[in-house]
Subunit: 347 residues, 4 copies
């Protein structure tokens, strides 16, 4: 009963098999191997982007920071929401990678609107040498609160960014979950919607540790390669990253695992709604639930060994007090585990 995060579950057997299969020969290092060629082909095909520049790294923070540092200058500001992972959970990695770019926070929630974006951009006067210069916009799909931008919303944001001639990055650590929820194509959710660079997550959705950075315009390719190497994120035995990503992309496994994760989440939400005292505090659209449960319910779950994000002290006098929590389902979450969790919660 491990709902703490989608980075706590195992990798998918097909991914593991692809890695095992890769372990049988001598291969050129640093991505000059055939598997890396294949991986690139698969991404370009599935994104309908034959010119895209495609690179692998092992962590989401690396993908975000390297992508943003390629799009931003050190004297610029990146626009993101106050809840964006790049702001809240990366220990200043974007600031480090960009050489000191600023993050300007847009709106108050985990999704930004075009008007909020415009207001934030206008907050830094164009052409004034004294202020942080306007730089890239970064949006998160799925957001940190489990929300999803519709295609229309993405287009509206990239349109606004384009008005100011600013590039747009998408943090897609849970890209697959969003895609499964929206039922659209990768191209529709990215370059057709005006996205310039994508952090395409693999780790949370069935891999051991691999993320792709995709630039839909390859003009940034060589600079990115240098930045990746300089940041020590170019793997020598690169095939083991490529193999994971191949296993993940082949037969569109990634869409299946994301669909599973979303379905598990939906089952869990449905069950939670029946739990006495439970309140769902976000609108779960992918694989994350924010909710409150009474303290006594948390205590029961705790005693049974359930693991999840609890954002208040478990100890306290009032058994009915509503304590906030986060629950995440990954692809591997079984109906049995979910039902057991709900049984315990039900009391």
């Amino acid at each position: 009963m491990y709902f703490a995060s989608d980075n706590c579950g195992p990798a998918h057997p097909a991914v593991m098999q692809a890695v095992a299969d890769a372990n049988n020969s001598y291969q050129p290092s640093y991505g000059a191997d055939a598997m890396t060629d294949e991986l690139r082909r698969l991404i370009r095909d599935q994104f309908e982007a034959p010119e895209a520049a495609v690179y692998l790294v092992a962590t989401g923070t690396a993908a975000n920071s390297l992508a943003l540092s390629t799009l931003a200058q050190s004297w610029q500001t990146i626009f993101c929401t106050p809840l964006a992972h790049i702001h809240t959970d990366e220990c200043n990695a974007p600031e480090f990678y960009t050489g000191g770019a600023k993050l300007s926070l847009v709106g108050e929630a985990d999704k930004m609107t075009p008007d909020q974006l415009a207001a934030a951009i206008e907050g830094w006067t164009y052409g004034d040498v004294h202020v942080s210069q306007r730089g890239p916009v970064s949006i998160t799909q799925v957001t940190e609160q489990g929300h999803i931008y519709s295609l229309k919303e993405i287009n509206a944001l990239t349109g606004m960014a384009r008005t100011y001639r600013l590039p747009v990055h998408m943090d897609g650590a849970r890209f697959a979950n969003a895609l499964a929820a929206l039922g659209c194509t990768p191209a529709e959710m990215t370059w057709r919607a005006g996205i310039d660079a994508l952090s395409f997550g693999g780790t949370k959705n069935g891999c051991m540790g691999v993320e792709a950075v995709i630039f839909f315009d390859p003009k940034h390719a060589w600079e990115f390669e240098l930045r990746r190497k300089r940041a020590a994120h170019l793997f020598s035995k690169h095939r083991y990253l490529s193999a994971q990503m191949i296993g993940y992309l082949r037969d569109k496994l990634w869409r299946d695992t994301a669909t599973q994760a979303n379905a598990a989440c939906a089952r869990l939400v449905a069950g939670l709604r029946e739990i006495p005292g439970a309140v769902i505090t976000n609108t779960p659209q992918a694989n994350m639930i924010f909710a409150t449960l009474p303290r006594a319910t948390h205590q029961r779950l705790h005693d049974a060994g359930a693991a999840y994000g609890l954002f208040a002290p478990l100890k306290g006098d009032d058994p009915d007090e509503a304590l906030p929590m986060r629950l995440v389902c990954d692809w591997s979450m079984s109906d049995d585990l979910i039902d057991r969790f709900l049984d315990i919660a039900r009391g």
Copy 2:
């Protein structure tokens, strides 16, 4: 016949098995899992360093850069040889990670002497605000040219560094090969010899991609953790790094694989010495050979598909011209492959 580098071969089956075994449950992320505890215990045991701070990253450049940035201030200079990997092959990663520290080159060869080190240190006047301030010393074991510092040599260098109160880092991407060659203990080659921080290589000697950074004095622990996270080198599914390193350390597999690699290299050297026109240009002490062969010999090897580092154009008029090369053996190199290579070279 792939002698291009020890990052071209497969991972060891025992390492792969450890990774496969790790893939069966939910685990806390970011290194809070039990496997990471075990990995830490194994390193501390084998290095006889119960207080050591131990961290994993996935690339050697990350290990070096993060270790050095923890030891050095931005306004200091790091002392290393002109052939050090941190100078020649990391695309300014040490400069990036340290926020602009300088690398001062010691001596002319791939091993430095205490006198050369002292001269380089004296080159920057102590207490002069205008100059690069004296910072850590970094030595490489095995060196980039396949040489090994004896314990006595290491002690002499760290002693000299200590005279100036400078810390010493060891780039041990091929630490195991040196250890196997010297037949000493890990402690003797590191903290007992005055080493403060070690980049302990796994990737080149049987892993997919894992390196440990070991600080023998744990005072740097928390700063290092922050630096690793900020640099995007903290893995969420950290168990897959830990599992590799556990497989590598368990039953001292790493010493066996290094012994195999060194033995393969010795066999190859012995054979090469018999090849007409072959000249061994370094003194191979571990798993790397620098040699020259006549152009015609290279041509035969090339035609047969042999892969290795060739540092001159293959095309040329003179079939007898000696062209320089590098040959590296990893743990997986079989006698058959070596003999086949020698057969072809022999003509």
Copy 3:
């Protein structure tokens, strides 16, 4: 009639004379001269801080960025208001100098309260490697909106910072104007109130270009010297900075010039209150006024050549529309100029 900023007026004759007097001999460079000793003595005396480390630079942004980079680590966040000069007007200089520290914005106004500060600090969980680590607090005295923290307010803020063991920096570009307004001693407004480092402004209050950085605990001295040199802010002919600051400090000229500037501002405010349609939008406590005037009044002032900050387009249909403005008085502003300005505004 130049009210655009207190960096638009001339330097005080006594400062100019001190510079001229300094121009008559050979002097050791880089601050090893006798004038720099004298300058240091004057600051320590006037601040009753015999141990303080005192350094000169030529710009306020240099003072702030160097001071903050000495107090903050790259992986930390600095706490300041959304209106702080370091956030709004220094083109990412603090981020550059700190190697990528983040600025966390406290409250909504140009003064922060202890509760807002605590809330901002609590926003970054202590000891969590994923988040920006808690770093120094920076307050501005006089604020960018012309407000002043009382001694009690400063003490409350530094007390709160001390609770979290965070150091406190004061951006005192207009330190003298605040001191003159509060009528307290430099010590009372700084180290006795818990300030660790001060950017002590000279430029806006009668100098050509000089600011002191004062650390009340000298433990940071050598690091600061290295940071200043590395940032190219150590002057070779340092005496010309020292001479300015000596002229500024001698006979407490700086307190007189600030008193003059504040008095000029008070005269201007009093006059403005009589202008039909004028609204004073801040509570001017030092030498800055934020106000609105009807468009027609602005037009008259504009036609007469008055210069000040106008934050809306002058052109427009409605002559009665209130347009926001900023007026700043420096030490040199004469009653005549003020009265002329008011006459024109009066219409």
Copy 4:
């Protein structure tokens, strides 16, 4: 008798007068004033470069670091000699400003040859992601040892750089002294000779503290302005920098002061050659002499209060031992002072 450096003497009266003249009015800040326009015009005229982008800073290190950071990427290496000021005397400022670019040392002396430059460039394989990428070349005119590149030599070096499509920067802290010695025009020694960016020194040759950065191709202008502001080198009361530079340029004062300094140096050299035991160890071409004198002679000079660079301990047993020294003459050095120095040296 102060021959320690040309940053120890006073500023020229005409420069001081220009500053005093500038102190009489309200002026727009940050370089938007009329004096800055005039200064720009003067430089463009005297360099016959009507399109040049011209900026002022207060220190030579700022000029060099900002210029180089505009020309170089963080993953590149800058090529300079081992004696270049940017390498030996700027406490890692170029590394800091460039975000971690490397300095690759060319040759062994203070002047580089085209062949040495080519060898250094070839040392970093083009297009190899692992190595430091080839970046700008920086030459120093006058060199740190008092030597001068002839126009032919400059052209040969920039030609070689051009072969590799690398830009060339000139550190001209003593530009005027070189120009006076060569008797050529500013254009001939810069853009006509292939120089892209120049640090044009004023401080050492008669100013208090001002240097110009000149880009002969203005494409770098806006980036430079942002870099200067972000580095806190944009002065608010900019007129005091402009006034110095105007005083310096008007009536070509700078060429006169440099001619004086060179002549003083020539007189000093001629005298030194007559001193028993004196050996001139460089070929003084501008205003710097490297020489040795017997210890006893140094002792006499020391006792008489002469100040200069002495690169060995004054104390010692052997009165005849030759101790190395550096002597620098600035514009203000009088014949009397020189003769007095020589008298004492003569014994």
